[in-house]
Symmetry: C2
Subunit: 442 residues, 2 copies
């Protein structure tokens, strides 16, 4: 099956940042076989299907390096409360979260990401087996990390039972083409040293990236300073769990030495500017990280933290926050930000050989962003248009592994209204909305 | 002509912040005649037209307190260049900007705002007579301030010729129901004291708000400090031009004394968080302004500064920036931000008697935001959904003065493709794109 995409503004995001303002892309089954200018397209080319991009911008599918897709039910609940985690989130989670709710939430969240041009994500939550199934059914590319934390949770009977869950979960998805099962200790402070080391060992055994919230919280820094005269990153080095397989989410509070350590061990950083700033936590030192050679990807965080799961809102927020914090309008020009959202994320998840650029031989994960909507005119620089003008609603078509999952701004194989109905039903069954509103009005 | 909107989640934005989760709105010609819960809707009510909002959020039309609608042609040009004003913008403006380009750009920009739920705006640019005509034709509510600056500009032959332009422009629109002509000295430093005083006098004579960029630039502060040991605001007080009619755009750099002065004279502030932070200029002290009792509205700035003209992206940016700068997640809860975008803006433009809330007797400027799109579920708090989840693409219907200008996400009386074609043609005629790309690739 060969598909030709013609008349697109192709942004390859390759090393040379090649672009073809009037270009084409040929997809051969799951893979990209060619890309170039329309002029260079052989007259006698053969294909099974042809899509006229009509001037849309074609770029690699975006990579959301940190999210919690099971948490859609919490969106818009207590956004502005400083104590929202303990006041709304944990109690409701304990009371209501279950397999079916996580699964239906996961499918809904994946639909949201696909409609917004996110083709790969790294998740961290509970019931990750169900979430992996959701990702598989939705034909998404995903890494899914089962959370481990020092309390009883909704899917395990004992504190840190996520470790045992993960020990069974990881082998199940070995060899899957798009899905990788993983493990995600919630944070350094909410796990024992032994668990952190076992999580690292598990990731090594199955050769899969793992994930943890690192240097996100003020009390986290304070704890390690007081107890060990260390930073969280220094602590993680001492216990031997820093490696190129670790995706450290947030990393808001880093010292120069932390940055050196992250580089030394090739730890990846999932930067969540929207969630970090909505919660008033701060702005991570991304320029310093990148200058030091640390790989950084963008993440939305969960729908109850960052609210939307698209990277367009993150890219724009990223530009404005980092420029302002650095007092430099020229910091992070738009093309660098689009890089972070595509190949940057792919590198962060160890997938740069498979995805992240439009290059022959890579898996065909790519998106078309239409330029017909009112906000998308004029365009002198497509990167600028993507970062400063576009929103998730401009995504027209999305392909993952050569399969079209979004067509003309609609899910190709799923019905959004039905996904919502299924999620609503799961929420209804556990009384989620009623309890949420009760908590909000208390 | 009576129109009933039923089954809406009505946010009145009135003093008591009343809302009707299952509510209705009755429009009688140009005015709101009633709003309430569906339960309270009389069975025997009569109307000429009924719109089922199907759970959409109904709120007052948004007010964009600062923009430059003639500048659509510049969007996405040199966004990340610190010297973009002198390198791209001024030369191109001088070479290319003309009546037809401003007019077609204005219509396009107004279409963009209407599609995004902005029903009123305060503009500042050249050819404001043409822009006022564009606003009138598009049935928008608008204030339009002719720029005055100490150079020859595209629509006047002499430095500060905008003053004379304004003297002819203001009386022309006296008594118009939706359109007010005004004057906008570019900045304190780019005009003489005499011109600033004449602009203030003109605004007084015709009883219309006027506009100026104030305390936006580092060099502006430096100049007044060096030359007069004053801040720009102190200088403006000394020359006697501070009043409740002045809408001061940006006000990024304010001292405590400046804030006292703004309050003392009831000067209004047009806060443009997106443009101010994209250009790395800084974050205005909005909490201090509001605590001092200064009226603040939100603005997008022009399409070459803030890129999009919708207030959804501004509201979200506003939340994240101010929370982060204040180290306080609870600062500016979502409902306060929606207030700034609606009644706050109306107050800033002196229009609070006519618009800004859903109340009987007010002009029927209101919008419906659909909740069917993937990003709009679930909703516990409609303000949270508007600030953190929504984007401009969620706006479904828009009414101005009782007339529907957007219906089902499309312009009701205009064709977007045609507006774009007309703007493209005007750009083509002056070689805009060619010259822009030349400058970019130089």
């Amino acid at each position: 099956m060969k598909t030709l995409i013609k008349n697109a503004w192709v942004l390859t995001m390759n090393e040379q940042m090649e672009q073809f303002p009037n270009g084409y892309l040929m997809v051969d089954d799951e893979k990209i076989s060619e890309a170039g200018t329309m002029d260079s397209l052989p007259k006698a080319v053969s294909y099974d299907r042809c899509i006229d991009a009509k001037g849309a911008i074609l770029l690699p599918g975006m990579v959301n390096t940190h999210t919690h897709i099971g948490m859609i039910p919490f969106r818009s609940l207590g956004d502005d409360y400083p104590d929202r985690l303990r006041r709304f989130l944990f109690p409701l989670e304990n009371e209501c979260m279950n397999e079916q709710l996580a699964y239906t939430s996961g499918k809904y969240a994946i639909a949201e990401m696909q409609l917004a041009g996110v083709t790969t994500f790294f998740d961290m939550y509970y019931f990750e087996q169900q979430l992996a199934e959701a990702a598989d059914e939705m034909h998404s590319r995903a890494l899914l990390a089962e959370s481990v934390i020092d309390t009883v949770t909704v899917d395990v009977p004992d504190p840190m039972g996520g470790l045992q869950y993960a020990e069974e979960f990881l082998p199940k998805w070995q060899g899957h083409h798009r899905i990788q099962a993983s493990i995600g200790p919630h944070a350094p402070y909410s796990n024992t040293i032994e668990v952190l080391q076992k999580a690292d060992a598990l990731s090594k055994k199955y050769d899969v990236p793992w994930m943890m919230h690192v240097s996100e919280m003020d009390f986290e820094l304070e704890k390690y300073r007081k107890e060990r005269n260390q930073t969280p990153v220094e602590f993680l080095e001492e216990i031997g769990v820093l490696s190129s397989r670790l995706v450290a989410a947030h990393c808001i509070h880093l010292t120069d030495h932390d940055i050196e350590l992250l580089k030394k061990y090739d730890v990846k950083v999932a930067h969540c500017i929207g969630a970090n700033t909505k919660s008033a936590k701060g702005v991570a030192r991304v320029r310093d990280l990148i200058n030091a050679g640390v790989i950084v990807g963008l993440g939305t965080d969960g729908p109850s933290s960052g609210n939307t799961l698209d990277l367009f809102s993150q890219m724009r927020m990223f530009a404005n926050f980092h420029k302002t914090y650095l007092h430099d309008r020229s910091a992070f020009p738009a093309e660098q930000i689009v890089k972070l959202a595509t190949i940057g994320g792919a590198k962060a998840l160890g997938l740069e050989e498979q995805i992240g650029t439009i290059e022959a031989g890579k898996q065909a994960d790519f998106i078309l962003v239409e330029t017909d909507s009112v906000n998308m005119f004029p365009i002198y620089d497509p990167y600028s248009a993507l970062v400063y003008s576009a929103n998730a609603g401009n995504v027209r078509d999305v392909f993952i592994d050569g399969k079209q999952v979004v067509s003309g701004k609609k899910l190709a194989d799923a019905d959004l209204a039905q996904l919502r109905a299924e999620l609503s039903e799961a929420m209804e069954q556990c009384g989620f909305r009623r309890k949420a509103l009760q908590a909000l009005n208390k």
